[in-house]
């Protein structure tokens, strides 16, 4: 048989193909409202900003989506949203890649075969029709969405025996239990860090990963900028970002931490016998207690989510005694059943055969539930399991039906911020695949023929806003006046945690600052983002105290086997600074299976050790350390000038004038704007939001573990981590310094590295032939070379990267192989601002680089050097210094030095 194609047929086919490729992205079907009040001109290539919200563990964080041609390409903060305050964190920055992730589930799957939504709906309804939902369980993550809660309630009305189980692997069971004990009802503690003069953390990491990181970071930085400098004490099992920023921090085992509570109680009350404390701990408690007591009303004690309920109860007492700046609000999550209890009950029911239909929406118990529950085994007893996921996971792999769940940016939904503020989240793009939102899915369970879409459901539940109110709420992604009001609470009773003196190592399972509980493991940006403190990428380790490692005869990077209860993991050990003796710390999110090429077989699953019980650590193999992007953290001798640490009242020594033969440039009234950046290392919390914001904005490719192993990196902005004092650490974001006398420029043989009139050190990709002399001669080592064709190679394995290309910023060149690239100060944003200014005949306005826009603590300021403003203020600051200023490079990016309160005065 032959196919006859004449010329016209071929032309028709070409036209069809071209049309199909143009129709790749489409706006949502319903009208969505841009944040700025201007007509939605359909001019191609223009950038439109829409406010919306992205949930993390159920809690909303407002974002501004940057949309070009109906294609969201970047997420930024949303100033009005209380959990964003205009900034982002790593998880908000990487969300855009999840949208375009080629590993996404694209179509309903029945077993290994593609199925249809009708098929799945029929499969569910055939089971529920006859009964009142008996034996049917809906398992979700934390739900704060009023609409989704309403739909679940409606579903329960139709099927009274249906159970809704909500479960988050990163739970807040301990603080809620402590609140129950202290106040007789479940309450959530909301510290007001901006009002805290003295903070003592007990294993707490308010500046670390979580739904509140941005807000906490901002409030903490606000206070830190004010004089006199606030004090921060930290007692914790392993170093956290908060601990790194502390004036004094001590690592403590769980037993020592409990002892510290006893000691603090004794010091605060003055009428108790202080327990025996190790000397350094006793000193720290004495100082902390003195400062806390002196700052009554402005002193705050915080306990980490991983701490037992007794520690939280003790902290509740301490805070009420100190009259601490803390609000207690009714939990935003209306379900106050302990998470661990709900999942354990569910597993027991499944094992006992009491569950015949399990519908999982956005939860992954097979991966993250305690191994003792044997969730995967229990699933075998359930006749019908339907799992709705954006990315296939361990649970969906064992389900009968896998249904594609829409990304938050593809669906209408609503959710509440950790402070209760509700957001209506508009989609920025029509679903890329045949997916449904959680709201639509719950409706589908209730009625296989349901034709109401998520938009109608969300609109229904906010009908009280009226049309104008609705538009306003959608455009701003905030429903006004919905924040929870602080509860009036009684004085909390004193509870002292028991001092556990059982022998053996304590296992600390911490939330990964890059992958969270594992939900971001599939995200290549997250995997390649260095962990803030060890700079590990593409892998997980067991952090241990060197003495503990010596005891079992292992060195840094040797493989250990850690067994606890029902779980065993095998990972490389890493000797880290600030680790408590007797504590082994692991990060969640690794050891994934069945999820795709990015996350599978990376590291080991720390949730296997979350069950508690006696642990055993033994040597299990050879040296195989996890990759890191930084290997030296200590700054000895003269290197200390790279990261100066000052006392609060100290000033940097003024830089010596550089002898030069070149006369300074004459002042020029018509000179274009001069751009500069100032980075305050005193409030940089090392969160990595800037690193990934830069990656998203500037089309920085992911290069994968093999390339990292050879010592290559592509991030334009790196965050250097250095040791501070005996126990702390500090962070120093290093983008291009944009030197006025740049060492990279004279060495380039083809003039690919040139200076612009605005003071930028520009890299002309087209002209670059890749001699790499510029990077060899760069004292800051901020240039990045495309050793291979990174922008066209994929870390997504068979899935390819065609969908990821849709994320790319059309304003930024995609660099080919053999070309040097580096931080441009987001020159495309500068150009856009100057273009606008030209068009409107007004002076160039403010420009924010992607990193500065992302920074939760506003540590990065970008602006003009030739005008009075933030940059000039920063340069006049007594803490101002230029990195390696003595080389005479005259960097445009400069720093403000870190401060540490002196440890032991008075």
């Amino acid at each position: 048989m032959s196919i006859e194609l004449d010329r016209r047929a071929i032309l028709r086919l070409i036209a069809t193909g071209a049309a199909a490729s143009v129709a790749g992205c489409s706006p949502p079907r319903q009208h969505i409202y841009p944040a700025v009040n201007r007509p939605d001109d359909a001019q191609p290539g223009t950038l439109t900003r829409y406010a919306t919200a992205i949930p993390l563990a159920g809690y909303a964080r407002g974002v501004t989506g940057l949309v070009v041609d109906s294609r969201p390409i970047k997420l930024e903060g949303l100033a009005a949203h209380p959990a964003s305050l205009g900034a982002t964190d790593l998880f908000n920055e990487i969300a855009i890649l999840d949208l375009y992730d080629p590993q996404r589930l694209r179509t309903p799957m029945f077993g290994d075969r593609p199925g249809t939504w009708d098929g799945a709906a029929r499969a569910i309804s055939s089971r529920v029709a006859a009964r009142h939902g008996e034996g049917m369980v809906l398992l979700t993550g934390r739900v704060t969405s009023p609409t989704l809660l309403a739909r679940i309630a409606a579903l329960k009305e139709s099927y009274p025996d249906l159970r809704h189980v909500r479960w988050e692997a990163v739970d807040d069971d301990a603080p809620i239990a402590a609140a129950r004990h202290a106040f007789g009802r479940p309450l959530t503690q909301r510290p007001r860090l901006a009002d805290a003069d003295v903070i003592l953390t007990l294993g707490a990491d308010p500046l670390g990963p979580g739904p509140d990181q941005i807000a906490n970071g901002r409030h903490w930085a606000t206070r830190r900028r004010r004089d006199p400098m606030a004090r921060l004490y930290a007692i914790e099992p392993s170093m956290t970002n908060t601990g790194a920023m502390a004036d004094r921090r001590l690592s403590a085992s769980p037993a020592d931490l409990a002892r510290a509570c006893h000691g603090l109680a004794a010091a605060l009350t003055g009428d108790r016998q202080a327990p025996d404390l190790p000397a350094p701990l006793a000193v720290l408690i004495r100082q902390a207690a003195r400062d806390l007591a002196a700052a009554r009303g402005r002193a705050l004690v915080l306990a980490g989510d991983g701490q037992p309920a007794e520690v939280h109860a003790f902290v509740a007492w301490a805070n009420s005694r100190l009259d601490a700046p803390v609000d207690w609000i009714a939990p935003v999550d209306p379900d106050s059943t302990p998470h661990r209890e709900s999942i354990a009950t569910l597993a027991a029911d499944m094992r006992a055969g009491r569950v015949d239909t399990l519908i999982v929406i956005g939860a992954n118990p097979v991966y993250a539930a305690p191994p003792a529950l044997g969730f995967a085994e229990a699933m075998k007893r359930v006749p019908l399991i339907v799992a709705a996921v954006t990315m296939p996971d361990e649970t969906s792999a064992r389900a009968h039906w896998q249904l594609p769940l829409s990304h938050p940016l593809e669906s209408w939904h609503d959710c509440r911020a950790p402070d209760g503020t509700a957001s209506i989240a508009q989609p920025l793009i029509r679903p890329l695949y045949d997916s449904r939102s959680a709201i639509e899915l719950v409706d589908l369970v209730g009625d296989a023929a349901a034709d109401l879409d998520g938009y109608a459901r969300v609109q229904q539940s906010w009908a009280n806003l009226g049309a104008d109110g609705w538009q306003e709420a959608v455009a701003g992604a905030i429903v006004p006046n919905t924040a929870s009001r602080p509860a009036v609470v009684a004085t909390a009773p004193l509870v002292l945690p028991p001092i556990d003196t059982t022998f053996g190592p304590a296992i600390e399972v911490r939330v990964s600052p890059t992958l969270y509980d594992g939900r971001f493991s599939t995200n290549a940006w997250a995997q390649e983002c260095p962990e803030p403190l060890t700079k590990e990428v593409w892998g997980s380790s067991a952090r241990m105290h060197p003495a503990d490692m010596a005891t079992i005869g292992i060195g840094d990077g040797d493989i250990v086997r850690i067994a606890q209860g029902h779980g065993t993991v095998v990972v490389p050990a890493r000797a880290v600074r600030g680790q408590a003796k007797g504590v082994v710390t692991l990060f969640t999110g690794y050891g994934r299976r069945d999820t795709g090429a990015v996350a599978d077989k990376i590291g080991a699953n720390a949730w296997m050790l979350a069950g508690g019980g006696p642990a055993h650590v033994s040597k299990a193999g050879e040296h195989a350390p996890v990759l890191t992007t930084q290997h030296v953290f200590a700054l000895d001798g003269e290197l200390a000038k790279l990261y100066p640490v000052l006392r609060p009242d100290e000033a940097m020594a003024p830089a010596k004038a550089q002898p030069t033969l070149i006369p300074p440039n004459p002042p020029n009234q018509d000179a274009p704007p001069q751009w500069a950046m100032a980075i305050d290392t005193d409030i940089c919390i090392g969160c990595n939001a800037c690193v990934v914001a830069c990656q998203a904005e500037n089309n920085v490719p992911v290069i994968g573990p093999d390339e990292i192993a050879t010592g290559r990196v592509m991030h334009w902005l790196r965050v250097d981590r250095y040791d501070v004092a005996e126990t702390g650490a500090g962070f120093q974001p290093v983008p291009c310094m944009q030197c006025e006398k740049a060492p990279c420029e004279p060495v380039c043989p083809v003039e690919a590295s040139v200076h612009t009139a605005e003071g930028l050190n520009a890299q002309v990709y087209n002209r670059c032939i890749g001699t790499r002399f510029c990077q060899a001669n760069c004292p800051y080592k901020v240039r990045r070379f495309n050793f291979l064709d990174y922008s066209h190679s994929s870390v997504w394995g068979e899935a390819g990267d065609s969908s990821v290309k849709a994320q790319r910023n059309p304003e930024v060149t995609v660099r080919g192989r053999g070309v040097m690239e580096k931080c441009t100060y987001c020159v495309q944003r500068i150009a856009a601002a100057e273009h606008d200014a030209d068009a409107q005949h007004r002076p160039v306005g403010a420009v924010q680089t992607a990193c500065a826009a992302a920074c939760p603590t506003e540590a990065i300021t970008f602006g003009r050097l030739d005008e009075d403003g933030a940059i000039r203020r920063a340069r006049a600051n007594k803490r101002h210094y230029a990195l390696l200023g003595e080389l005479g490079t005259r960097p445009r990016t400069t720093y403000l030095a870190r401060r540490v309160n002196p440890g032991n005065e008075a």
Partner: protein, 457 residues
Amino acid sequence: MSGVQMRHVRKQSPRWVLPSVTSLDHVTEAVAAPMMDRPAGPRYWIAFATMAALTLAGALGIAFSLAYGPGLWGNNSAVVWGFPIANYVWWIGIGNAGTLISSLLLLTRQKWRASINRAAEAMTLFAVSMAGIFPILHLGRQVYFYWLFPYPQAMGVWPQWRSALVWDFWSILSYLLFSILFFYVGLIPDVAALRDRPGKRGWRRFYGVLAMGWQGTPRQWRAQRRLHSIMAVIAVPLVCSVHSIVGLDFAASLMPGWTESIFPPYFVVGAFFSGFAVVVLIMLVIRWSMNLEGLIVPAHFDVMAKVILASAIVMGSSYGAEWFSAWWGGERGDIRLVVYEFTGDYWWLYLLMLAMNVLAPQLFWVAKLRTNAWALVGVSVGVLVGMWLERILIILNTLSTGYEPSFWRTYAPTIVDFIILGGTLAAFVLLFLILARLIPVVSMYEVRDLLADERQA
């Protein structure tokens, strides 16, 4: 080679041609006969096949590198330079000796150079060719290497003249062109002699074309001598400038360990040093394989060993000067670099380099070892290894520890790096093997000159 220990050299009035060489014809026959009349033996073909295979492997390594990019090598984001730059500096250094032997010794009327200068010049030509591969190969986008050339184009963009890499481009280019011309001018009388010698027609025609109508008239001789001498006068500063500029590739920078004013002369001496080591090896092989014991005599090796010894002392002093100036200057970055050289990631390579470059040649204080074949081979190979290590360590030590400790990274070469380096070594030998069957490896007319002088004396 006849016996490992060559006959000892008399101090007074050395004879550079053995008495066994009796007549001027004898010289021509001794050089030309093995090449033109006798077939290449199985040893030749085995060596040829091996080298051809290794060259092919190297060519494949280069082809893959061109296709996939520099990512196939061990270079990383901090140590952005690696094998290609080290190989380049090493190869171009080797080329140095050939030019200097021909020109400097010609100008100073060192007649003994007659029997070794042809091979030394060929060595220069081949070494510079090998060196020339690397600056282009090492680029990220090799196809645009010509942007270093100030050719007229619509954009009006020129090379950036402040960059040492542009100077480098010109110095390699001029050096290569000059070496070809110098080699050829010195070759003309000999190819004419081969043209006139009985032999196969095709070959004679080939030599005839090369000889460009050389008839040996007094006028031609005068012109050839004059041109050769003038070129020699140009060659000495040229060769010094080439290696100075190679030194400036590093010195015209901001990095500790590179910004050293001693680099240009130090690179010239280093080049001379490694070049002589290669000349020694080549002469040993030619003498043995082509039965030229009568023309390449122990006295030659004695002289060359002395040159190597002297260079080793200069090299040692240069290292000492680097350490001293770091200490005396007190620049923290420089001191850290010197400490890193001895205690850092590559400390054993550094010590090995010092042993090879400074200690091993000290053996040549012993007169007997200067004419002992094994000692000559051992020290020469040692110097070559040592000098290559020096080149790579200049790159690695500085780039592995810059100003920012957060970006300190070590370097590990890949198999492709080694294949390409091995490929150029094989190609170099292969070119020599081909050369040995094509043109006289000993300059016949200059040796005849020398013989005539000695017979007169």
